[in-house]
């Protein structure tokens, strides 16, 4: 058979036959088909030629499915592998090995970040922040091990996520400050990725401007006695800032916050503080970081348990690791006599903050207030064993030892609490009063004097309950097993 198609002309096949002129091809094909139909043979059995040699029939005609003839197949089996392929394969194996090492390092960082993400998703914000810090520390560790600065980093996306949580749990001011220090303006990539954080930078800048404008108003009254502070005049000056020509530079709610400060230094009372703080909330409902804990404190001082519990619930719903909010809520319920509710709050705290020494401290406090001092001591001792004991756990232990009558042990625990607070910077009025009480009862006059001096330095005095116990007008049981169950 002869072919007329151009494709087969260049195959280099020496057919030795002359090509048939094109007009005759049609007749030839028609003849062949007619012959085939007349013979009654199936079309399937028409023998196909090998596409390589175009001479021999393909092996597949025997049912093997091959598309080539046996001779060409034999030749095809000898088609050599390309040397470039071997080089590519060796390169790929080496590159994959390096990729594996890189994946291992990056995977460990990413795994820590993913833990942080999952904590954040569960509203366990403190846990999330801890994991972001952990991821950051991991990159520093790798860099120092490999002696290469800035080789690994935990990425801009992780930074953005960490900053968003920081804004929520601490304050947007911290984030704004971090952004100013960070390399925000360096590239278009960063500007684009950090766009969701820019609002915090603006908040910080406005806060700084407001503070700059407010500071001169207060500067003369830092050492002034409360009674001599012209409260109304300060308030008027602060209000003026809201209307002046630079008014748009300042944040009205920050100005309102400074009014609360004025109420504090002028000792205008909790109601005045509350009033200003509620105004802050009204002006900037999103600034919970600024007003929530302060409002809770005001309600606590005023004994407004309903609003206090509401704020605690808000704080807990925003951050399941908000130990302070759980403690406040549990104490409020305990003071109301709802011990079941208080233990319920402790259980919730424990479920989101398992193993935390704050959970042991709260549990011990609730057992004590429930009258079960022995169980409370047991809880404290378990806390010392299983957690990194904090200031509050030592303080609770000191109170329990006082109730058990072991003044030396109580004083030692109070000293431990005091030392712990020095490092963790969590001195509270409750702590200093407890230390003073334990020191006095244990005959440690020097420490007692030091505690009283500390309170006076901060414009405070010994709590009436502590004075009452020292004077003998109150018993330890009155202070620690009844009412608020604490020195304050």
């Amino acid at each position: 058979m002869a072919y007329t198609d151009k494709e087969n002309e260049n195959l280099g096949l020496d057919t030795g036959e002359e090509l048939v002129p094109e007009p005759e091809v049609k007749d030839l094909v028609e003849d062949e088909f007619t012959e085939l139909i007349d013979s009654g043979e199936s079309f399937d059995t028409v023998e196909e030629l090998c596409p390589i040699c175009n001479k021999r029939t393909v092996d597949g005609n025997d049912g093997s499915g091959s598309r080539y003839c046996s001779v060409c197949r034999k030749d095809m089996l000898k088609t050599p592998l390309r040397w470039q392929g071997f080089i590519a394969a060796v390169f790929a194996i080496l590159f994959s090995g390096v990729g594996f090492i890189l994946m291992a390092f990056t995977g460990l960082i990413a795994n820590t970040v993913s833990m942080a993400d999952s904590f954040a998703k569960g509203k366990q914000m403190t846990g999330a922040l801890n994991y972001y810090h952990e991821a950051y520390k991991l990159t520093q560790e790798y860099n120092s091990q490999l002696k290469a600065d800035n080789l690994f980093n935990y990425g801009t996306r992780s930074f953005v996520k960490e900053m968003k949580i920081t804004a929520l749990t601490q304050s947007p001011l911290t984030v704004g400050q971090n952004l100013l220090q960070a390399n925000v303006e360096s590239s278009a990539f960063n500007r684009f990725k950090l766009r969701s954080l820019m609002q915090h930078k603006e908040i910080y800048e406005k806060f700084m401007e407001t503070r700059k404008a407010v500071e001169p108003i207060f500067i003369d009254y830092e050492e002034t006695e409360a009674a001599k502070i012209p409260y109304d005049e300060i308030i008027a000056k602060l209000d003026k800032l809201k209307e002046g020509e630079n008014a748009d530079k300042y944040s009205p709610y920050i100005i309102e916050y400074y009014k609360t400060y004025a109420a504090v230094i002028a000792e205008k009372g909790t109601e005045a503080e509350l009033e200003h703080m509620l105004k802050v909330k009204e002006l900037a409902p999103e600034a919970g970081w600024l007003y929530n804990y302060y409002l809770a404190d005001c309600y606590n001082r005023l004994g407004d348990t309903e609003n206090l519990l509401k704020i605690c619930d808000d704080l807990i719903s925003e951050n399941k690791n908000s130990i302070q909010a759980y403690s406040l809520k549990a104490r409020t319920l305990a003071t109301k006599g709802d011990m079941d509710g208080a233990f319920g709050v402790y259980k919730e705290l424990e479920s989101y903050n398992a193993g935390s020494s704050a959970a042991y401290a709260l549990s011990a406090e609730l057992h004590r207030r429930n009258g079960d001092v022995d169980k409370a001591i047991e809880v404290c001792e378990e806390g010392f064993e299983k957690s990194e004991a904090n200031t509050e756990l030592f303080r609770q232990y000191a109170i329990l030892q006082l109730l058990k009558g072991d003044k030396e042990k109580a004083y030692k625990a109070a000293s431990d609490a005091y030392n712990s607070s020095y490092y963790s910077r969590d001195e509270t009025l409750e702590l200093i009063n407890t230390v003073a009480l334990c020191a006095k009862l244990a005959g440690e006059e020097e420490m007692y004097e030091e505690s009283v001096a500390f309170l006076e330095e901060h414009g405070q005095a010994l709590a009436p309950s502590v004075v009452g116990v020292i004077d003998g007008t109150l018993t330890l049981q009155d202070v620690f097993l009844k009412g608020k169950g604490d020195v304050l």
Partner: protein, 184 residues
């Protein structure tokens, strides 16, 4: 369709070349005749080698499966490293906290590209996937029940994957993911 396929293969050229080489090597081991060792012909066969029908179902399956599997094994670690670094962590060309240059970004980028190129070339040519499917599940199939059960998932995956590669959807996915990682 053909130009999309060719564009996808060109964008993932390192993977296409290596895949064709693995195909050739595997077919040589399986004693399946291969027509030519031109791995990068710019046509519908780019990244594959023209070969004869394997004589048995096992050879056909291995010829379809092994070259892509090798590319998958080699491409996964660098791709994951690059994707975790750029897409998940969001590592950029500078360290955000310090403003220092971050050369690791370019390492991640290279790892993503090479690993991604390998992963974009893990499926057989569409006609080979179809052939395997027919040999396994067509009415004329004489494959045993065990083979049909065992090979169902891999051959179905290869068939679907071949379509993805035919329309360069895998390359598009990798590109979009990278752009999201860098900019979003």
């Amino acid at each position: 369709m053909s130009s999309l396929y060719i564009l996808g293969k060109i964008l993932s050229l390192p993977g296409a070349f290596l895949k064709a080489f693995w195909e050739h090597l595997v077919y040589k081991i399986l004693k399946v005749p291969v027509e030519s060792n031109a791995y990068l012909n710019i046509d519908e066969g780019l990244g594959h080698v023209e070969h004869d029908h394997p004589s048995s179902l096992l050879r056909l399956f291995l010829g379809n499966f092994l070259p892509g599997f090798l590319n998958f094994l080699l491409g996964l670690p660098p791709f994951l490293a690059g994707a975790l670094g750029i897409v998940y962590l969001g590592v950029g060309p500078t360290v955000i906290e310090t403003g220092a240059k971050a050369p690791i970004f370019y390492v991640y980028l290279l790892a993503y590209f090479i690993g991604g190129a390998f992963l974009c070339n893990i499926f057989p040519l569409l006609e080979d996937s179809h052939l395997l499917w027919e040999k396994l599940y067509s009415s004329k199939s004489n494959a045993g029940l065990i083979a049909k059960v065992l090979l169902f998932v891999p051959s179905a995956l290869m068939l679907v994957g071949s379509y993805l590669e035919q329309y360069a959807l895998n390359v598009l996915f990798m590109l979009v993911m990278l752009l999201v990682g860098i900019f979003a």
